[in-house]
Structures are given as structure tokens and as C-alpha cells.
């Protein structure tokens, strides 16, 4: 009958000790050691040629160095594994969710510097994460050292990278300027017809650089769901299926995954302008945004020589597949 009392006595010291400060502060590493909790940021670090500084990454990070330790999902971080890596910087894109409170507490205790970037809504926002002193951003990043370049003492490198991406974006915009602007619907999948709506980087790339109009129109949510009737009402002239890493779809009439599009009275289906974009970077708001804009521009307008000159390597724009209504007889 006294068992609960003994349990209580055993647990009591642990309860008190849990509220105490650690007896010895975590030693900060001398060299820069970065944990990146967003694949987009890992790609930025790779573009800045600092992949070797990345010691930890989040789940499903395609740009992670092979020796980087996975420290959980960005919404569920393994704090113990992260601290064991003794990072000097932890960077993430926590967006509207806000940062992880445990990480914030560790950062306050001096374990590392935590830099939380809002999720970008435009190409300008992406570049601003790299190098702050850009104007016209909707992301409220304090000027100065919080942007990734200055944070790592790489202002010049980041500046050069930003100028290069800006130049590529301007070239893509120039290549599509004056062309007819078709209505384009960008779907994340065909199982549930969830589309990229206004207020997304993809919408910005489509409308401001790739020379097209987003067929979702103005919506109350950033990723509206369509049914077939709504799809018919929107009548997109081009449908882009953004499916990074997925297996290639077949002809619409034959691939069971595309049954939802069959015989729809939609210009894109009728005219064979349904395209699958399976490039691994297609959904990442990072240093590939100009390449994403180029891929979208070519998927919408067909081959653009000016864009091809920007990305001369043979595999640069590979990954776009046109899905015919019916397969070859």
C-alpha cells in the first residue's frame, strides 16, 4: 500500500533536477557547423559551396551531404541528436508555424544561433533569404546578418549568387515577354487536385517570369482543391503536374492515375498540353528558382532558345514530359 509513496520519493528528485540549468554549458564548436532543417536552405548552402559545413539536416533533404545526420522532421526535431552534433548555427524555414520552442530555448542558452526564415512567397523573398539588402520583399527579415550570406560571412559570394539568379530570372522573363499568356494550372498531384494558388513562389515564377496566368485565379486559400467541374470552369490551356521524383505518367487515356483528366472538355487536355514536371528541385524555393522558371516557361511556351542558352548543360532542363490524350496506336 506504500508503493505510490516510494514511487513519489523516487520521482521527486528527477522532477526537481529537470528544472535545473545544466551543470556545464554546452560547448560551442570553434568551426562553423550548420544544421539545416529546410531542403531549400541546404541547396542554398550547396550553391554557396558550403555543403561541407552542413552536419545535420531534416527529413527527406535531397541536397543533404552524404555524411550529414538526419535530425528529424522540421516539425518534429530530435533535439538530442541535434545537440549532439554541436552545431554553431541551426537554420530553418518555419513559416507561419513559428519556430520550435525547444530549439529557441537552446539558442537562448547559447548552444547555437537559431535563424528561422519565414516561408518565401515570391522569388524576391527567396533571394532575400540569401542576401538581405533587396527591396520589395514581403518577408520581414531584419537587414544585416540574419540573411544566409552575411550570417556565414559570405556576403560577397551570396551577392554574386543573387545577381546571377536575378540575371537568369530577367532573361527568362525577357524570353517570354510579348508572348501570349496562357492560363496554366499547376497541380501537385492528380489523386487530389490540389493546385498552386496565389501567394506561392510557383505562382510568382509562373506569372512574373514564365509568361503565363495562373488558372486558379484569386482564391481564399494558397492551395485550393479542384474537382473536375471546377477544372472545367477554370479551363486551363496548360496543366502542369508538379510531381518531383515520381514515376512518369503515361497517356491520359491509358494511365489509371490520370483517369480524372480523361475526356474533360478542357483546352489543355484537348490540345495535348498536359505536362509532368518531375525535376527533383521543382517544389524547392531555393537557388534553382530561375531554373524552375525556365522549366515552367518551356513547358508553357515550348522550346525557348534564349532560355536554353542560360542553362547549356544537356540535363539542365530535362524532366518535362508531355502527356498525350491517347497513346501511340
Amino acid at each position: 500500500m506504500f508503493a505510490p509513496f516510494w514511487y513519489f520519493l523516487c520521482v521527486l528528485p528527477a522532477v526537481f533536477l529537470s528544472g535545473c540549468e545544466p551543470s556545464a554549458p554546452v560547448q560551442r564548436a570553434q568551426t562553423t557547423r550548420i544544421v539545416s532543417l529546410a531542403p531549400a536552405l541546404t541547396r542554398m548552402l550547396a550553391a554557396l559551396e558550403r555543403s561541407h559545413l552542413v552536419v545535420g539536416v531534416g527529413h527527406n533533404d535531397s541536397a543533404a551531404p552524404s555524411d550529414a545526420r538526419v535530425v528529424g522532421h522540421f516539425m518534429d526535431i530530435n533535439t538530442e541528436a541535434l545537440v549532439a552534433l554541436a552545431p554553431t548555427h541551426v537554420v530553418g524555414m518555419f513559416g507561419d508555424l513559428g519556430g520550435d520552442t525547444r530549439l529557441a530555448a537552446l539558442a537562448v542558452s547559447g548552444s547555437f544561433e537559431l535563424v528561422s526564415y519565414p516561408y518565401p512567397r515570391s522569388a524576391t523573398d527567396v533571394l532575400r533569404i540569401l542576401q538581405a539588402p533587396l527591396v520589395g520583399s514581403s518577408v520581414e527579415i531584419d537587414a544585416g546578418p540574419t540573411a544566409l550570406g552575411p550570417l556565414l560571412g559570405l556576403s560577397n559570394e551570396a551577392d554574386r549568387l543573387v545577381r546571377r539568379i536575378e540575371g537568369q530570372l530577367a532573361a527568362v522573363a525577357s524570353a517570354t515577354r510579348g508572348r501570349e499568356r496562357p492560363r496554366v494550372l499547376m497541380l501537385f498531384d492528380v489523386e487530389t487536385l490540389m493546385a498552386a494558388g496565389p501567394g506561392e513562389v510557383l505562382d510568382d515564377l509562373l506569372t512574373h517570369y514564365a509568361g503565363a496566368v495562373n488558372a486558379t485565379g484569386s482564391t481564399a486559400v494558397r492551395a485550393p482543391t479542384f474537382d473536375r467541374e471546377k477544372l472545367v470552369a477554370a479551363d486551363p490551356e496548360v496543366i502542369l503536374l508538379l510531381t518531383p521524383g515520381r514515376l512518369a505518367f503515361g497517356a491520359i487515356a491509358e494511365d489509371p492515375r490520370l483517369a480524372v483528366l480523361r475526356d474533360l472538355p478542357v483546352a489543355a487536355v484537348r490540345e495535348g498540353r498536359v505536362r509532368q514536371l518531375s525535376q527533383s528541385y521543382i517544389l524547392l524555393p531555393s537557388t534553382d528558382i530561375a531554373r524552375i522558371a525556365a522549366v515552367i516557361a518551356e513547358a508553357v511556351h515550348g522550346p525557348l532558345p534564349a532560355v536554353r542558352r542560360l542553362f547549356p548543360s544537356a540535363e539542365a532542363l530535362v524532366g518535362t514530359l508531355t502527356l498525350p490524350a491517347r497513346g501511340a496506336p
Binding site: P39, H59, N60, H73, F188, D189, V190, E191, T192, M194, A195, G197, G217, S218, T219, A220, V221, A223, P224, T225, F226, D227, R228, E229, K230, V232, A233, L242, T243, P244, G245, R246, L247, A253, P256, R257, L258, A259, V260, R262, D263, L264, P265, R270, L283
Partner: protein, 365 residues
């Protein structure tokens, strides 16, 4: 109009004959009339409120010729809306029939496919198939089979784990169902976690309950055939279901093979819940609300309850889909999941009934 006692809710009086009473037939006429009205309303609701273009007869002909591939003509507005209305009717009717069968099988008026984990089990089956097959396995029947395997496995576990001294413990049944539903949800989350990041938002939305217009015609036909067959089987065995609510000895004395009856109820409940999941993902509480609303109107006879619950379930899904379209038309939100509306309405009713009838759900038999 008042609720009958909880005992009556699952145990009809023995005085019912094989013919339905005039009042019941009148009530059923009203319910089926309402179903047609709600279906017509759904056909009219879209970006604009009007009768859809394309012709109803032609749409029906096209449906029977195969939904998509057998005609070169493009789909009309009527084709699309009728297809969606048929999906809604199959989901609602299937879930309601499954709910009636479960409540009779388990002698528990709180039983329904979602609460007992059948829908979650079927979801585990479908998601696992997509996880392994990169969506290509969505071809046709395998998806239905995977959903059925998941639902049946859950049902078997619930049935076995809630036995106490050879009888089903009603509270234990609910608890096991809830726990199993949670475990199933965790398995789905695990697969969700292991999937590529790009697939997860889509899966998240599917789990909310959407009418799936992207299924192959063969899948829709398979679900339709099993749903209608299950409904007709239960209808034919309605009288046995009435007797099945008596004690085992009484039922045996009246010539009902309880083992066969329960096996049929088990198979029908699992199959119909699995079919509904294939067509719409997990949709909560329709299998619970519909039988209770039916009993309010037509009394406790299982034949009458089945005949009323199926159209009521269909109406609930049709109305949820109509509301989703109307909200989108008014506020440009995109199509919201029907599962949200059924869960809110059904959850409130479930809690209200639990409180109103607390202590009244004693085991029968």
C-alpha cells in the same frame, strides 16, 4: 417525433409482419422523394445555379457505356455532376447500410464503421497500396481489395478483442474500436512520414474525405455492385436481423442460423465500408447518423431501417458535397472535403446521444 428507447433502437418488437406498415411506406416515400430532390439540387449547384448542360438521359447512357473510354465525346457538365452524385450516393448508402449491419451484428446502437476502426483499416489498406505502388496500383480492383482487407482485419480484431465471457462487451467494443482506429491512424501517419515530401500534402487532403473522381470505371462499378448487393442481401435478411437481436436461444428457436447471419453482417459491413473508403477516403459518422435518423422516422424494423438509412446516408453525402461547392462559389475556398461536414454534424449528434442516453445502451441478448 421522439426517440424510441435505446432497447428498441436495436431490438424491434416481434410483432412486425413481413409487410411494411402504411405509415412506414409513406415515410419511405417521403425519404426517397427527398433523395431525388437533394440529388436534383446537387445537379443544379455549381459555379452557377442552373440545370447542367448535357442531358440526363445521355449522361445515363454514357455511364452505362463506361464512364470514360467508350465514347469519343468529351464529358458534359451533366456527366461530371451525375458521376459525382452517383459517387456520393454510393458512399452514403454504403456507409449507412454498413452502420445498420454493424449495429445489428454488435447489438450496439453506437457502432459505425468509422468509430469501430473499419474506415481507418480500409484507409491503411489504400494508403499502403499507394505507398508501395507509387499510385499506379490505383488501377482498379486491387485498391478495393486492399481496403477490404484492412477493414476486415480491423473488424476481426474489434470483434475478438471485445468478447467477454462469450458475449460482446458494448463499452469494450467501442474502446477497442477507438484504440484500433488510433493505431490505424498511426500506421497511416507512419507511411505518410516515410513518403516523399511532395506526396504528403495530397495524402493529407485525401484522408480528410474527398469524393474521388479519378477512379477507373471498373473500380466504381465494382464498388457499386458490392454496395447494391450488400444492401439487397441485408434487405432480404431484414426479418432475420430483427430476430438476431433476441437472445441466441430465442433466435435459434425461431429458426435463425445466427452464425450465418452474423457472418453475412460482418462481410457486408466490412465490404461496404471498404468500398466507401475507396470512393471517398474515410468519412466519419454517416454510418452512425443515418440508422438513427431512419429509426426516428420508420421505427426499429431492420428492413424499414435499411430502406430508410441508405437514402438518408446518400442525402447526407450529397448535401455535404453541395455545401462544399456552395462555399467555394461564395468564398473561393476551393472544394472543401466532405469529411469535415459529416464529422462536425455527426460528432455533435454522437455526443448529444451519448449524454441523452447514457446508461441506456445495455447489451441485449
Amino acid at each position: 417525433m421522439t426517440f424510441r428507447s435505446s432497447q428498441d433502437a436495436v431490438t424491434p418488437s416481434a410483432g412486425h409482419g413481413t409487410q411494411l406498415a402504411w405509415s412506414v411506406r409513406s415515410a419511405l416515400s417521403v425519404i426517397y422523394g427527398l433523395l431525388f430532390a437533394v440529388a436534383a439540387l446537387r445537379l443544379c449547384v455549381g459555379e452557377q445555379f442552373r440545370w447542367p448542360e448535357g442531358g440526363l438521359l445521355r449522361a445515363v447512357q454514357r455511364a452505362f457505356a463506361g464512364w470514360y473510354p467508350l465514347s469519343d465525346a468529351v464529358l458534359t457538365e451533366m456527366d461530371i455532376r451525375l458521376h459525382r452524385a452517383v459517387l456520393a450516393t454510393l458512399v452514403g448508402g454504403g456507409l449507412a447500410t454498413s452502420g445498420v449491419a454493424l449495429q445489428a451484428l454488435l447489438r450496439n446502437p453506437l457502432a459505425e464503421p468509422f468509430i469501430l476502426g473499419l474506415s481507418t483499416g480500409a484507409t491503411v489498406g489504400v494508403v499502403a497500396l499507394q505507398w508501395w505502388g507509387d499510385g499506379a496500383a490505383a488501377a482498379a480492383l486491387p485498391q478495393h481489395g486492399a481496403a477490404l482487407a484492412g477493414a476486415a482485419a480491423c473488424m476481426l480484431i474489434v470483434y475478438a478483442a471485445s468478447q467477454r465471457g462469450g458475449a460482446i462487451d458494448p463499452m469494450g467494443l467501442l474502446l477497442v474500436g477507438v484504440v484500433l482506429s488510433t493505431i490505424g491512424g498511426s500506421i497511416v501517419m507512419l507511411m505518410h512520414y516515410l513518403m516523399a515530401d511532395g506526396a504528403t500534402p495530397v495524402l493529407t487532403r485525401w484522408i480528410m474525405g474527398y469524393l474521388n473522381e479519378g477512379l477507373e470505371p471498373a473500380t466504381v462499378w465494382a464498388v457499386a455492385a458490392t454496395t447494391v448487393s450488400g444492401f439487397l442481401l441485408m434487405l432480404a435478411w431484414g426479418r432475420r436481423m430483427d430476430i438476431g437481436t433476441f437472445s441466441d436461444a430465442e433466435a435459434a428457436a425461431l429458426g435463425v442460423d445466427l452464425w450465418r447471419l452474423r457472418a453475412a453482417e460482418f462481410i457486408v459491413a466490412s465490404t461496404l465500408a471498404a468500398g466507401a473508403v475507396v470512393l471517398s477516403g474515410p468519412v466519419a459518422f454517416v454510418g452512425f447518423i443515418s440508422p438513427h435518423l431512419a429509426r426516428l422516422v420508420v421505427g426499429p424494423s431492420h428492413r424499414a431501417v435499411l430502406m430508410a438509412a441508405a437514402p438518408i446516408g446518400a442525402m447526407l453525402i450529397l448535401l455535404a458535397d453541395t455545401i462544399s461547392v456552395l462555399i467555394d462559389a461564395c468564398w473561393n475556398t476551393g472544394r472543401m472535403p466532405i469529411g469535415i461536414f459529416t464529422a462536425i454534424a455527426g460528432g455533435v449528434l454522437f455526443v448529444w446521444m451519448l449524454r441523452r442516453r447514457r446508461g441506456g445502451y445495455a447489451m441485449v441478448g
